[in-house]
């Protein structure tokens, strides 16, 4: 007999996610993903200065705190046909790069690890054996028996107070926990070390952008951090040296801790390489322009579409194929809720029709989420590190191919295991490694350009709104840590007439479409074994493998009229 369970709140994510699922004979047979928070930021943006939009959209999300600013200024630059200086492009790449690295690191150690690591079990580890384990997997500096004894004592004293704080009611002793105590102790040490490292390396954003979270440095037309080797108020040799130091720190941690940890933990959980694959449709819009032509040309990370796991056929992205449904979302369409609309033709009209809170279950036969259902060529898609790595791998991108093959080789498995919960987590680690190794290139390019005497950081030609046409429209894309992101803006008489965003978690957390086809979260949960329905740890594992970001995902799309795409790509 089917038994319906609810996980709400899904914790260790950004925002408000609720999962309802039916379980039969210890396996998930159906699932519904619901976003339970709505703000309506796009409505708030109406009639405001388009140059301000990045500041508002940045607050879609404070975790991936740069991504919506970037998509926003790119959308306005696209609408007004503004090319930005090379310095600004490289500064943007460095800011995006460290965002990606820090975000993935926090995700693995602080959001995802507690699904696999039993903190309490670490107390029965032998510190000597833990030291041997650490020394066998990498040359990392913190590897002595004394060090692990210290960590164990600290955790022991903490646990002994009986006040476990954020570790209260964790899944300690759960039958799905497989790591030996020594590996658990090592992971707990790395949890604490990563807390420190993430705080340090994100200082790159403070140097380039004044602060983190929410760096205040973006400008339509460029960046607001000056570049001048002979000024103490600009990016100079000293600041570049500081940035290099933080890149080196991040690189050391990723190479000696993050990657070895993934390789050490994965063998205990290899069954998760066969769970959580879902639809196996992947979308990447590409990013990190490297050439003089600027965005959107010469991407380091390529764009592409993969359907049904067919790596032999990577198709180009055509943004006209994106539609959105509201059949199961708390919105209404004027032409009826059964029809999909391209974002340019999207409509307002939010209308809550769910049960009045407090409620026990949502009405999942009808509308049940604040997230819309985006589809590409009428198919649900997955976006994120796995999509990017698969597209790049299938296209033969050298760094990605080499690193993916290295990881697969060490685990003794083939690329088919990537279509899974474990594959998603491994792809994020692979991306972190190639990203941190890439970042110096962008910094070098900035330095080389400064050497030529070019200190430009902003294109002022279109800064004054009086230079703008009375009507303009455009869109900007970005490969954010969590996946493909798009912003659309319509400018009329120098103000925003309409603003829209289709974000990574909208794709992944989508509810069903009119044909009843599940979103990717929902589909990925089907077939997942649940050892204890009272403590459904396994649901968290697959949900966390996506790194959900719900505040980003919930958006309101406005009426946009019929527009023609202006962007050079997609």
């Amino acid at each position: 007999m089917a038994n319906k369970i609810v996980v709400d709140p899904v914790t260790r994510i950004e925002g408000h996610l609720r999962i309802e699922a039916t379980i039969e004979n210890g396996v998930i047979t159906d699932a519904w993903s619901s976003a339970t928070m709505f703000r309506g930021v796009e409505t708030i943006l109406k009639n405001r200065d388009p140059r301000d939009a990045w500041y508002y959209t940045q607050r879609f999300c404070g975790v991936c705190t740069t991504v919506h600013s970037l998509a926003s200024i790119r959308a306005v630059e696209n609408a007004l046909n503004i090319q930005i200086p090379f310095n600004a492009e490289m500064i943007r790449n460095v800011i995006m790069g460290i965002q990606n690295v820090q975000d993935h690191m926090i995700h693995f150690y602080h959001l995802h690890a507690l699904d696999w690591v039993d903190v309490v079990s670490a107390l029965s580890a032998d510190p000597k054996k833990t030291a041997a384990l650490q020394q066998s997997i990498s040359p990392w500096k913190y590897s002595s028996e004394k060090y692990f004894q210290g960590i164990q004592n600290r955790v022991g004293a903490f646990v002994s107070t009986g006040k476990l704080g954020p570790f209260t009611n964790g899944y300690w002793g759960h039958p799905a926990m497989k790591l030996p105590p020594e590996a658990n102790l090592m992971a707990v040490a790395h949890y604490l070390e990563a807390l420190h490292v993430q705080k340090e390396i994100i200082k790159i954003q403070a140097i380039l952008g004044s602060k983190n979270p929410h760096p205040q440095t973006f400008l339509v037309g460029g960046m607001s951090i000056p570049v001048d080797p002979n000024s103490q108020n600009a990016i100079n040799a000293d600041k570049i040296a500081q940035i290099r130091q933080y890149i080196a720190m991040a690189r050391e941690f990723v190479e000696q801790v993050y990657i070895p940890d993934v390789l050490a933990v994965a063998p205990f959980y290899l069954e998760w390489a066969g769970i959580g694959g879902g639809h196996r449709n992947y979308l990447s819009v590409g990013d990190f322009p490297e050439g003089r032509r600027g965005y959107p040309d010469d991407f380091w990370m390529p764009a592409g579409v993969i359907m049904d796991g067919d790596l032999s056929n990577v198709m180009p992205v055509d943004q006209q194929k994106i539609t959105e449904y509201v059949t199961h979302s708390w919105y209404e369409y004027s032409g009826g809720d059964g029809v999909g609309k391209h974002p340019y033709e999207g409509e307002t009209n939010w209308k809550y029709t769910g049960p009045k809170p407090p409620y026990d279950f949502l009405d999942t036969d009808n509308k049940y989420s604040w997230v819309k259902a985006p589809r590409y060529d009428d198919k649900p898609m997955e976006v994120g590190p796995l999509s990017r790595m698969l597209v790049a791998y299938a296209l033969g991108h050298k760094e990605v191919t080499d690193t993916v093959n290295l990881v697969l080789g060490k685990l003794g498995v083939g690329p088919e295991v990537l279509f899974s919960t474990l594959g998603r987590t491994a792809a994020r680690a692979v991306e972190t490694l190639i990203m941190i190794n890439k970042m110096s290139d962008w910094l070098d390019a900035l330095v080389a350009n400064m050497k030529t005497g070019d200190y430009a950081i902003h294109n002022n030609e279109k800064w004054d709104p009086s230079t703008w046409p009375s009507n303009a429209r455009g869109f900007g894309f970005h490969e954010a840590p969590r996946g493909a992101l798009g912003h659309w803006v319509i400018i009329e008489n120098r103000n925003i007439k309409n603003y829209q965003a289709v974000v990574p978690t909208t794709w992944n957390a989508s509810p069903r479409d009119p044909a009843g086809v599940r979103g990717q979260y929902e589909e990925s949960l089907i077939g997942t074994p649940i050892a204890d329905p009272e403590r459904p740890l396994e649901i968290l594992r697959t949900m966390h493998s996506f790194d959900p970001c719900m505040a980003c995902a919930v958006h309101l799309y406005d009426e946009g009229g019929n527009l023609v795409s202006k962007a050079k790509i997609l």
């Binding site: 996980v7 709505f38 975790v63 004592n153 009986g162 954020p166 705080k199 403070a206």
Partner: protein, 371 residues
């Protein structure tokens, strides 16, 4: 505390190794070895205050700020200083297990726990714009906040409604003190809040047992007592009439005043110029972008457009005009909030404009009279 000893035993931790830990801790704190028994006693009594951290209409930026804590670090904060019993973004438990943890703390420490709130609370649609475990943010806030010893609103959204409450406030978003008018709420606005102000507030509360002195907007004076303009490192350039005219021009590269590029520092009260961000590394003006006024109530309406200049300011700065700039905009922001309240404000953007016009008129009259 026999319970504590039992737990030590249960986890195979000898008294000896525990005392060893205590002496190591003492060494770290640079106190004499004779202090070890006292540290052990303090740890054994374990008076870490329980904390319930609620997230509503937030972007999680304040949580991310918390993760950057450095004095104490977030690890020390969680392990040694507070008992963070409920925080959706970091806690191990989910669903029923998470809820159980929250209720256990509420029951055991009724009237004593610290409630930290991130994000605004939407009062529209019977609370359906934000729910957790099927319950509305309104009910959760009233229940958890109503039984707390003290409430700290972190960030501009929980303090005053913030971004969701900006015109036309589609969801009826309000700040904590709007929902719980009788309770003591310490507001730590900022977008996000600066974590040093949070750790400062917690340490103040633990040390003195009461909330710090606050201004009329519920902000601690130790962090929001001074105008940004008055402590700005570029103030000399303002007084000397040296302004950035274009992004990337020589004045911009040389760190001149950003007033003409829309800086709202003269109208904003926050310790950014002295405290800075990310362990004192930088802050917006230092990195070449004007202040947005993110610590002021309703700034998403009253301080925008971002690159617009503050009104009624003569081009070249002298002391009196600088003071007048501050007075003017602070006047507008305060007048709107005092007269109409956050909810009304958000629903009537027109009123903001009218209030701005009124203030402009008043300032003009004052200026004329002075002249």
């Amino acid at each position: 505390m026999s319970n504590f000893k039992e737990m030590l035993a249960a986890h195979n931790i000898s008294r000896r190794s525990f005392l060893k830990y205590c002496s190591a801790l003492g060494a770290m704190m640079a106190v004499p070895a004779a202090m070890t028994p006292r540290i052990a006693a303090a740890l054994e009594s374990d008076n870490r205050p329980p904390v319930i951290w609620l997230e509503f209409q937030s972007c999680t930026g304040d949580t991310m700020s918390m993760l950057l804590a450095n004095r104490p670090s977030v690890g020390e904060l969680i392990l040694d200083h507070i008992s963070l019993d409920y925080h959706e973004t970091v806690m191990a438990a989910a669903g029923d297990q998470a809820e159980a943890s929250k209720y256990a703390t509420m029951e055991k420490y009724k009237g004593q726990y610290i409630c930290i709130v991130e994000g605004s609370i939407p009062v529209g649609a019977d609370g359906a714009f934000c729910t957790t475990a099927g319950k509305s943010a309104i009910d959760i806030m009233k229940h958890v906040g109503g039984n707390a010893g003290v409430i700290i609103a972190v960030g501009s959204c929980s303090s005053y409604g913030g971004l969701p409450a900006a015109y036309p406030n589609p969801t009826g978003a309000v700040g904590v003190s709007d929902l719980l008018p009788g309770k003591t709420v310490i507001n730590l606005p900022g977008c996000p809040m600066n974590v040093d102000n949070l750790t400062g507030t917690i340490v103040h509360y633990l040390t003195f047992g009461s909330a710090p002195a606050m201004d009329r907007f519920g902000r601690p004076k130790f962090a929001y007592g001074k105008r940004i303009h008055d402590n700005c490192e570029r103030r000399g350039h303002f007084d000397a009439g040296q302004y950035v005219e274009n992004w990337g021009d020589s004045g911009h590269r040389e760190g001149w005043c950003l007033y003409k590029m829309g800086c709202k520092g003269p109208a904003s009260f926050h310790n950014c110029p002295t405290l800075r961000w990310n362990e004192g590394l930088s802050w917006p003006v230092m990195a070449g972008h004007g202040c947005v006024g993110c610590s002021e109530p309703g700034f998403f309406d009253t301080m925008m457009p971002m690159y617009g200049r503050l009104p009624n300011v003569p081009g070249f700065g002298v002391e009196s005009s600088a003071l007048r700039i501050g007075g003017t905009i602070v006047g507008a922001s305060a007048a709107v909030f005092a007269t109409h309240g956050a909810v009304t404000l958000a629903r009537n953007w027109k009123q903001v404009r009218e209030a701005k016009e009124e203030t402009r008129e008043i300032t003009k009259e004052t200026t004329d009279a002075e002249e």
